[in-house]
Subunit: 470 residues, 4 copies
């Protein structure tokens, strides 16, 4: 049976400690972070999973069961999950399908059943399952499938519902089978906090090459975006291409770059796991992470990723020889269209498209039905929260939350989108139609413009489920 | 044993709903379509398989047998096959060698025996067997062979003769073993209705690369043609390279492009499954699909594909950076030669070849025996049916069928070719020979010129079976 | 244990019908051909295997044993082997490690033991074992090894000594394990009778790419030479890289091209199987095939292939975009050096090297010990037989054989080389040494110059067995 | 369990006969060489493994146990190990995971248990385990893992501690699992004594391509450096990327090239096995091999390889078309930073970097914490021993050793580094800091400049163990 545990009907959202804190984990970290998530309103825009990454382990007991590190977690894992549940969060943990985890703690390979039992007994709701020290058990899809399916089966056997986040760095064509056993699957080496700098430690650069000597640990935002392009259609409700945890707020990119990063992750239907240390959350970072109009793209009930319709390398290159612009588009619930202009050139660009290009997948010039409709264009970043507002929130002034700030705990994105809730729609900035089909946009260097197109033709929802694009 | 079930001695022809209708299937659709095929004369030029694609399924019963969807098919599958058989058609169905079909209905993986029994009991004559949700069982030829062979064996065990159409998108070198278990095998990702636009969702572009991150769903006509070039010789009577179902008449290409598409599919010995919604068949589309002189190339009893003898990229490129011209040639029954000039440049081209190039596989300049013969050149599209004629047919005026229109139900292509039936020969347009070996042709942008060369030397049939080219 | 059946201590030589005659085989063909080999002196320069290729088979009996075709071979296979043995030849046959042979006769897959027994009972001395219809049993070295080892074991079990010629077109890194089970292994798709024309049906063009969608059937001389370059060191006494059967005399190349083809096959230590129809042998072809000075390179007792030390694409290209020059070198018994200048440019070239480059593998400029020796240079084609002489031989005038023509049946190449038999040495044309280290040669278009360098320093044999170069 | 036999906490150092002497091995060779190692002080700077390569074997006995060659080793292996142990060395031997070794002696495949028992009984401390004649058992990570794990398990079963040096030429992604079963793993074909000349016999040139038709035997220094770049982070205490044995002193490179070779092997944390014939050790070679400041980089207790932060091909090319410059950097114990400038251009280059680039992995321009510190720059080759001094040593004058020459047998590198022993620090040559962040260096053609940066900020050790970088 396909994986239909009812979870991840939209891409999961939450927080994970790895990107900012690595092995420096503790009970306090989790509880403190959860408090920030709650009080900053981030939980209520959707970030409801709190995920503990590597280094929580103690020794494996003589009985074969894994222990947690009692110094870092003096009250134990069940205590943490109880606390998190009380705050309205779900609790995630981590292991590796290897003899050791990446940080060389006890791995779960050949211990899947007992480890899943432990997680269930601790009230765990989510498992990130890594790929280090796999003992040579990779290299064909079947051997990787079997290794990861062992844990999938073990989780199912516990009877406890857990979101299963497969992390094998995109090896062995995992996008072709991830859906059958997991709720998400990583498609690249580890992200790092740079926009587009190539690094030898992320050696897989041709997105069409499934074999690569080392997926790596220093993959830039653009590297990952380019990797997923050939199979964006593999994500769908219940299972998602995972572009790795967010670097937003870590310090290595400009505000524009972080906006681009966050927008693309939402548009590509990647899980959205905040990677920053939230105890040091800045107002500016908050205003990226909490934009409900962009999150609504991520949490769109259709669950359709954008697809790329243009990639143009004929632009100014930077010191690393990098430079390109891209246009991505795809359907939104109920009958809108998303268009994202991604400028990765080394200068501001004016990018122009038209309705023929936006709907090119429906047919070439002049033949696409939707190219004949009238569309209003809404900028999804125009309503970005004012930084002073965000600063107030971080200072404990929650007044904003009483003033109609979007709260997905109370109202689902689906419902709000269905009635075109203004808080999710962005700001109208243009109109296109058969008479004036062109849409021309100035996009700053290393940034995106992201638009929701609203169909004025009165047509109903248009996308049937189609082959391999469910 | 090799697959010698006696079927597909020439490439199968028929209709399949997927390209135009996707999941929107029903009893009425099949019966209405069959009526069009019959009354338009398409059945009699060879389109005799009516194939139902995905989405017909209901649940799998507790007994392990699959049910059909009773709303879509109120009288059941046996009723449909009886109706089709009565009209002189054969009935095809669909499943996937996975846990689910591509549209997420019940798949046949590990249910092969019971599903084949159901198909046999329903009077099914043809099975298209897809590749979605394969549970990681691909990545080496053996594992794919075993997965598809399971259904081949299951079909054989039923005792009912069924044409077995393997659809694994060309993965795992299927062209090297497809012949041993199936009557045809797809060699690429899904076709889409564009002539040559590259799309990220058809990421495999180098035809020499057997590994590809995702065969994809948006493969253009030119993409597929270029993929099959290295192993055109793998198709032969009983088993064929499948270039996917026809897009002719779907609206995304010009008339010239559809003619090129149809001509190449015939010359490359691909199955010819009409993909358009025949209830909306236009006269112009009909005049492509019903050209007996071109279909005779497809149904040639020698079963030899053309091979490419020239590919020249040094031509005008279009907005996608695409542009090339190609020449293809190969033998025809009984002792003719086919030559196809394919202009995929962005402008009209005059293309010139000569007898030395046409017969280059027999030896270099001056040494090929057939380059010393005299040949008449016949244009296979010169006799294309007049659109007004086609319109009459679609309006129910079947007078044309009484006036000597070619009917393969009555006379086989082999017999008619053997006696050089004029309706299959095209129109004589030129002569070449040792004294005037050049053949120079003006080919419009995105189009083909397709010629049958008739040998005037009095030589008998010339091609022995040769290695790997049976 | 490694394959040490005592056979193929130097690359096998002989004749095989496929290249010229394909399926057109018979008892008379084999006997007539053997007669030509004998009377033309070809047997005595070394061509002592007569190998029957595909299409000799009848049905497989109910007892599981294969029958021969009684019409083509009325007196049976044992009769042929007896006749051949009486004439001093060894007898070779053919099958495929598949369900069918390439020409679709009964294959030996899963019938290895009984088929080997048949061959042994028929007095067979040599088996060419092909790769068609392998039922998906390829794609990793182990599965291919097992499939071919099954026949290796079956042959061994018969107790009869047979040279085992593995023919899997270079798939699955056969050069890394061929030596363990076979006496030679093909390293490419099928050769065809062109010097350097690229053809879509030989799609594997990058010699460094081990995976290729189809090894193909139209591989040019230059294509094959370039493929073997990275692992020339894998051939050694007892097991050889097989570059496929010779096209010399087939008509598709110029005399210069055939000389280049033959020279490179000898220098690269490929088996030398004549592929032409010997009943139509011309004097000119005979003078290529019977050059003892070149054959002595092939049959050199050290068994070391040349390695490439220069490949330069910066030369004039032909109509196919092809053009390059290459220099190859390697040791000869007892302490000589072979240098081959291969001109595949589209014009005559003057190619210059020096002692530093010839011995670059011993160290860079100035450091190679042998670069400090004095060397006489001998042209190995200078003594090519006069065509009128060859014509006399073919007319039955065997006087030449009484006049000291080299006869390897009487004197082994090893012995003759050891005493520097003049007939194997070529003609002295130059001298190089530290004072005048340059060697500059005019090489016609599509041709080679091939020199034996004789060391005047008085040094003894210099090459120890070294790792992976045995 | 991961391989944690307690060995190779820093990369192993020693001597192996293959590069200089190949099969020419004997008892005398080992004992004579050990004497040189001891008396030249090389043992005391760290070269404490004496490793015997291929060709020591006799026949395998009827009891399944391997014998040694009694002519080459008249007193047997135990005698040698006793002698070596007495001199303070550890004893290494060699076999192959194949039916034969590379030099065609008895291999250990399927004889692992008995062979490991023999080694243990002979007092062996180290096993180099090669890849020749593997019987097709490679091609997926699992099959290679299993083949090499068989010996790992067999060694463990003996109870004797042996450093396990896996040598499969980098095939099957060994860097992803080598750590689990071995103390080091080769990552390329065999090294040869050239700095950067491409050779057809080292065909794998794209470091990102894990599949390669033949790893080869003629891999240059630059070829190997470029191969390891994508996964330098896979080496860590207990298991190391092995770049193959040193060519220093063999004669094929200039002094600058050998310095570059040695420096990079140390910085990349490769094992350091001297490959030269030490009986002919020259003073100049000794002064490369015995530089304690460079060896201290190799033996740094953090065990972190440098990573490449710049590769620039836009420089002057040599006759082989080769030319590039590279910058590498990484942390040193306790809180220093290593920077290596590698000039492989065909001319002297001035190379400039700055603190932003050196710490780019911490964040882009301006954001890296360490880019704001003050650093002193120490040249690690400035204290290279004077040649006359070295000559004295080789002449038996050991006075230098009494004058405070660094002796790691007495004082570990870790302890000495901890107290900033001057002999390991190099010579201060510059200072950089936020005010003057640039470091500009003149690097001769084919050479390196190698600097230890000392942090003046007073910060403590900075590197936590991080994912995949342990």
């Amino acid at each position: 049976m396909a994986h239909n545990n009812g979870l991840a009907r939209t891409p999961q959202m939450g927080w994970n400690n790895w990107n900012s804190l690595g092995c420096d984990v503790s009970q306090d970290l989790l509880l403190d972070t959860s408090k920030v998530l709650l009080e900053s309103g981030l939980r209520d825009v959707g970030y409801n999973y709190v995920v503990l990454d590597d280094c929580w382990q103690g020794e494996r007991g003589a009985d074969g069961y894994i222990n947690y590190n009692k110094e870092k977690f003096p009250k134990g894992m069940k205590y943490i999950s109880d606390e998190l549940h009380d705050m309205g969060f779900k609790y995630g943990m981590y292991s590796s399908a290897g003899e050791m985890t990446c940080a060389r703690f006890e791995g779960s390979l050949d211990h899947e059943v007992k480890d899943a039992e432990s997680y269930a007994s601790w009230g765990v709701d989510y498992l990130k399952y890594d790929n280090c020290f796999h003992m040579g058990r990779f290299g064909t899809p079947k051997i990787t499938f079997d290794r990861y399916n062992a844990m999938s089966q073990a989780i199912n056997a516990t009877g406890r519902s857990m979101l299963y986040s497969l992390c094998n760095w995109g090896e062995d064509y995992v996008h072709t089978f991830g859906m059958s056993i997991a709720n998400s699957w990583r498609i690249s080496g580890d992200i790092y906090d740079h926009f587009n700098r190539p690094d030898d430690l992320c050696s897989c650069t041709d997105p069409r090459d499934p074999h690569c000597v080392a997926p790596g640990t220093h993959c830039s935002i653009m590297n990952i975006i380019n990797k997923v392009a050939p199979y964006v259609d593999r994500g769908s409700p219940g299972g998602w291409n995972d572009l790795d945890m967010l670097e937003v707020g870590q310090g290595g990119m400009t505000d524009n770059e972080y906006v681009a990063h966050f927008s693309m992750w939402a548009a590509l239907k990647s899980p959205l796991l905040i990677g920053a240390d939230l105890r040091e959350l800045t107002p500016r970072t908050l205003t990226i992470l909490n934009n409900p109009a962009v999150i609504a793209v991520s949490q769109d009930p259709m669950g359709r990723s954008v697809a790329r319709i243009r990639q143009d390398f004929n632009v100014k290159k930077d010191r690393y020889g990098q430079g390109e612009i891209q246009i991505w588009t795809g359907p939104l619930y109920p009958n809108d269209q998303l268009v994202v202009f991604l400028n990765a050139a080394d200068e501001e660009m004016t990018i122009t498209t038209d309705l023929n290009e936006i709907f090119v997948h429906e047919g070439p010039e002049g033949s696409a039905p939707h190219s004949k409709h009238e569309w209003d264009i809404y900028d999804l970043w125009a309503d970005r929260m004012d930084e002073r507002q965000a600063e107030k929130i971080l200072n404990g002034d929650t007044q904003v939350f009483q003033k109609g700030w979007f709260n997905s705990t109370e109202t689902s994105y689906k419902d709000a989108l269905g009635r075109r809730d203004e808080r999710l729609m962005g700001v109208k900035v243009a109109h296109v139609g058969p008479a004036q089909p062109e849409l021309s946009v100035i996009v700053p260097r290393h940034s995106v413009k992201m638009f929701r197109m609203q169909d004025l033709s009165g047509a109903g929802p248009r996308y049937l489920l189609s082959k391999q694009e469910l």
